[in-house]
Symmetry: C2
Subunit: 320 residues, 2 copies
């Protein structure tokens, strides 16, 4: 979590416009994406992963990512993040003006080969090529570069993933020049004990300041349980997707991000400030329902409502 | 958790046959209930709340509770629990041979009056009347008597419930002669911070040995997140319902027990032994689907399956 967010305790990073949309076949019109991102920012989200710089023929759902980045950059206080599969994607992300780019690297090499046809060494080469590109950008405009450790908690193809391999890849990505790494439970395999243990193992190897975030899937209903462990150990950034839209299309059965509005309820109920207005999030679901007719939306708080007399930890947001 | 369960770390107490069935209008035939309970016991469950001794005109779904208790008592190693709303129900539960009886007492007096038309004083009188009945039972046959602190985490009618009131009612129930108390999140209002704080507050007042269990609802999707907090603080008994069947019909919007099979997956993945075979639980869902056609079944693990290479903490069960 970066220093400009001293008024919040946990940074909720919305990944629906990227992870959500890439996992469904419907293509959301650009104008609808913009309305959605506007509503998310108005509800108080500080970081949104708005798309992925992949070839349009691979993910036509995200073909307008440059345009979305350009729009989202106009929102004060919003960190505009984008996924990049390689140096070519990073070049496009830099040109579009993304504030943060994430290169996902599967700790399971089998998954990496299946997903992007690259070995770990090839992915580390991509990371170094991206760092070389970033060095040409003036420091003030340079996006932050995250190495995303996919399948860090296990893989649908390989099964259990040795923790030492996660640690080694984290070290290699930082040595290649990433500013930070993040842990991703691509397959919904994580459990709370593992979340704590793996986070601490990476911290011991690379230092706490290089890992602050976790990306959890709710495939087996354990998403928020894992968040409790992540908070307990001291992670401060948690990814989520409004209405639980999305997942990874390349990991069979690995659907379902944790639900942003349920996550924010959890955090605010625990007394942790997110700066986010839960009712604003719930209202934004209607934009998804409109723009993606027939697409299933998930989550509990939208159906059950807030508890009677609920007091969030964050002060009320003015104006939006 | 009682001493006879030294081979497990957490006691999962199944409440589907009581809390699940009381919340739906369909009436499950006695033979189907028996098949369900048999399957639960075969999967390794050590405690099942099999019904409630309430008048058949109030809950016709549970009119056969005495018969179900008599059957379940035949299963070696199974604690047969039943809910009792008053001394008359306790008398019937004792006659039927229940091993454990729970008198639910709403910490929210408004909820108590709405639900059972009784003040706290009247409920404490019931507790004392039940203790008087129990004293007439030879010690070897005497059921354990739990006071269930309903709406302990908040109430749909009153909103927040002061912790001091929970503590005072726990003390009063134990003073009335209950063997133990349990915390129940009737309305799905609990959060992990509150679970820890309230458990510790009750422990400070009455001693750890008098509170070991928690009954959580998943109304707002926070059920397993709250379990992580409960485990962290040291609670050792967690209620759940196969396929998430049920909830409380008297608390508007308060539907949904946590899902037994998802809970057991959480625990076993964390390295905590439950003695329960997850696949046996998942298979038992088909009995519910058959006996309660059209009734929604919940849960993730049944849909997603176990992770590739998953190793539960409990040793494999032989024979069943």
């Amino acid at each position: 979590m970066s220093v400009e967010h001293s008024d919040i305790d946990v940074l909720v990073s919305e990944v629906g416009p990227r992870d959500g949309l890439q996992s469904i076949t419907a293509i959301m019109p650009t104008a609808a994406k913009i309305r959605w991102i506007d509503a998310l920012a108005a509800a108080g989200l500080r970081e949104i992963e708005v798309g992925s710089f992949v070839p349009a023929k691979v993910l036509p759902q995200l073909a307008d990512t440059a345009e979305i980045v350009a729009h989202a950059r106009g929102k004060p206080g919003l960190t505009v993040a984008a996924l990049v599969p390689n140096a070519r994607g990073a070049e496009a992300a830099i040109a579009a003006g993304a504030h943060k780019i994430t290169l996902p690297v599967s700790v399971s090499e089998t998954h990496s080969l299946r997903n992007v046809k690259r070995t770990h060494q090839q992915m580390l080469d991509e990371a170094r090529a991206i760092v070389a590109l970033l060095r040409q950008v003036p420091a003030a405009q340079r996006p932050k570069f995250e190495g995303g450790l996919s399948t860090a908690f296990g893989c649908t193809l390989e099964g259990p993933v040795p923790e030492q391999r996660v640690v080694a890849l984290a070290e290699a990505l930082l040595a290649a020049g990433c500013d930070e790494v993040g842990l991703a439970d691509t397959s919904g395999y994580a459990n709370p004990t593992q979340v704590k243990r793996l986070t601490q193992a990476v911290w011991r190897a690379v230092g706490r300041q290089y890992l602050s975030g976790i990306h959890l899937h709710n495939t087996r209903g354990q998403g928020l349980a894992n968040v409790v462990a992540a908070l307990d150990v001291g992670l401060t950034t948690v990814d989520a997707s409004l209405a639980g839209l999305g997942g990874c299309p390349f990991a069979p059965g690995a659907s379902g991000n944790i639900v942003t509005e349920d996550l924010v309820f959890l955090l605010e109920a625990m007394g942790l400030r997110t700066g986010i207005d839960i009712e604003g999030l719930v209202a934004a679901r209607s934009l998804l329902a409109e723009a993606l007719p027939g697409e299933p939306l998930y989550g509990f708080i939208a159906a059950a409502g807030l508890p009677k007399g609920f007091q969030p930890a964050s002060p009320p947001r003015g104006g939006s």
